[in-house]
Amino acid sequence: MRRFLILVFVILTPFSAFALNTKMVLLNTLMPNETDSYTYFIDANINLSVGGLIQSNVKSELSVNYSSFKQKLSLDKAYIKARFGKSQITIGKTLLDYSPFFILDASKVLFNSEESLFLPLPNRWLTTYYLSLGNFSFLEATVASEISQNPTVATRYKTEIKSLSIESALAYRPIEDDKMSLASYVGVQGAMALNWAVATLINISPFDKNSLLISGAVFKPFSVAYSDTLTVKFESLLKPFNIKEFYLNCELSYSIGNLGTLSLIAQIEALKESRIITNGTFNIYQDFFIIGNVIIPLKEKFLPTVTVGFSYSF
């Protein structure tokens, strides 16, 4: 605890003159266990962010998570970011995700195992250098490490040509059995009639054609009445040389003005486990949200995992 307080002090001290934003999340979960009964646990997260305003050149974020299931307090995020003109450096533990809006983008495989494609990417200890090359172009180089693995080294270039957002990346990262592999990633996103994204990834050294992944996504929001929105999103990821292994994510979300959003999601993993998810978020008081979701696995026993909680920002 003492080490944790020292870390908080070190990270927040340079920003004491800046505005501080805080977000708290508390989730109660009932999860089926091996004996077909239920286990109850609590997840609590508190996030402090300091600086990061356009007129400041430093930014920091600290996020701590407690899970009664794992019975431990963990550091979710702790980073400091500084910029000098067009250059930017990030040091610490934070998200490394080239396509955070999509769940099934091929870029996820650069930083995650294919075993857990539907799970959000874990935050990682990293050092990133970012160089702005224009209003909508940049070059980024990252060294990310995991305690049990060799570090991942990745470079990314992103630009916009007319209404197309194009990015390419090279990543030298550990794969199974502690072997290293150099992978190449290319992604394109556009918005003509509907929003779409296409991405591909392949291991180029050692070359392995079976590692080729292609992902595609489309989504479109439809106006309903005056202030409601129905959003349809469809994502897929497949291996052209192993056509039986594919992943689908289908989402239907309805936003009721500013009151909240209801979502129905089907996550299909061929050869593995699929699931249906219902999500609900309701803004009942200014920055206070009630959150709930039910995850129903599509296997022999349809025992759902139920989570209810809240988030509050101030």
């Binding site: 962010s49 305003l53 356009i54 910029r83 930017q88 995700d97 209003n135 909508f136 929105t229 500013n258």
Partner: protein, 242 residues
């Protein structure tokens, strides 16, 4: 002879006076929009939104270049970037950039009565609306022009509008925003005019979303610098995601 010239002169003045002093609806809109458009601005202000639970204040900073580029930053780190064709929104929590489209543009800014579309300006009125001068009206004891606007296409947030333009300073003092079937959606009214760098601009503005119960928003402009030299890289992805 002199009497003839005097009579002819008076006749000319009388027949030409309506053309000299009565503006058309298009001219009124042009004058109102011209006085609102500055080469570049930097501003600071506050948004106070009130609902049945109480009031919440958020501060903002805004940079603009012409009518095509703008960057808006709120005190919680949320940012909006407007370019010639698009509006981008950055959510610092999820570190996600979203290009706002369709009804997503009508979502509320920080839970206020103001939408992202409202915050990014009402655009070129004469390209988007047929305008008609209804009458001269008094609004808060000031002489105003009352104009009716009807959308030329479906690509606008508000199919019908009524606007009140102050006759003295051509500030749009009030807007009533309607659906095509004349349902009142929103009321925007200037409550106080302020002078910044010798220009009169709305200082306190009230926005009421009529679809929300017991909700209202007041926007306060605390600081405005005009014709500021912005770095061209200001309206960039780097600043949006910083």
């Amino acid at each position: 002879m002199y009497k003839r010239i005097l009579f002819f002169g008076l006749f000319l003045i009388i027949i030409s006076s309506p053309a000299l002093f009565c503006l058309t609806a298009q001219q009124i809109i042009e004058k109102a929009e011209n006085r609102e458009s500055f080469q570049s601005t930097y501003s600071e202000g506050r948004i106070v939104s009130t609902d049945r639970f109480g009031s919440k204040e958020s501060s903002f900073k805004s940079w603009s270049e012409g009518s095509e580029s703008a960057l808006l930053e709120f005190s919680d780190g949320q940012r909006v970037l407007k370019t010639k064709n698009d509006i981008y929104l950055y959510y610092p929590d999820a570190e996600v950039v979203i290009r706002l489209q369709g009804s997503a543009l009508r979502q509320s800014v920080l839970g206020s009565d103001l939408s992202y579309e409202d915050a990014s300006g009402f655009g070129d009125t004469l390209s988007n609306y047929d305008v008609e001068l209804i009458s001269d009206r008094l609004l808060n004891n000031r002489d105003s022009y009352l104009l009716s606007l009807e959308a030329k296409s479906k690509n606008v947030a508000y199919p019908k509008q009524l606007i009140w333009v102050d006759k003295d300073n051509f500030i749009i003092m009030r807007r009533e925003l309607y659906t095509k079937s004349n349902r009142l959606l929103k009321e925007i009214e200037v409550l106080e005019i302020g002078s910044f760098e010798n220009e009169l601009v709305p200082k306190v503005t009230s926005v009421v979303d009529k679809l929300k119960k017991e909700s209202s928003t007041k926007m306060y402009l605390d600081l405005l610098h005009l014709n500021v030299n912005h770095d061209k890289s200001l309206f960039s992805l780097q600043n949006l995601t910083w």
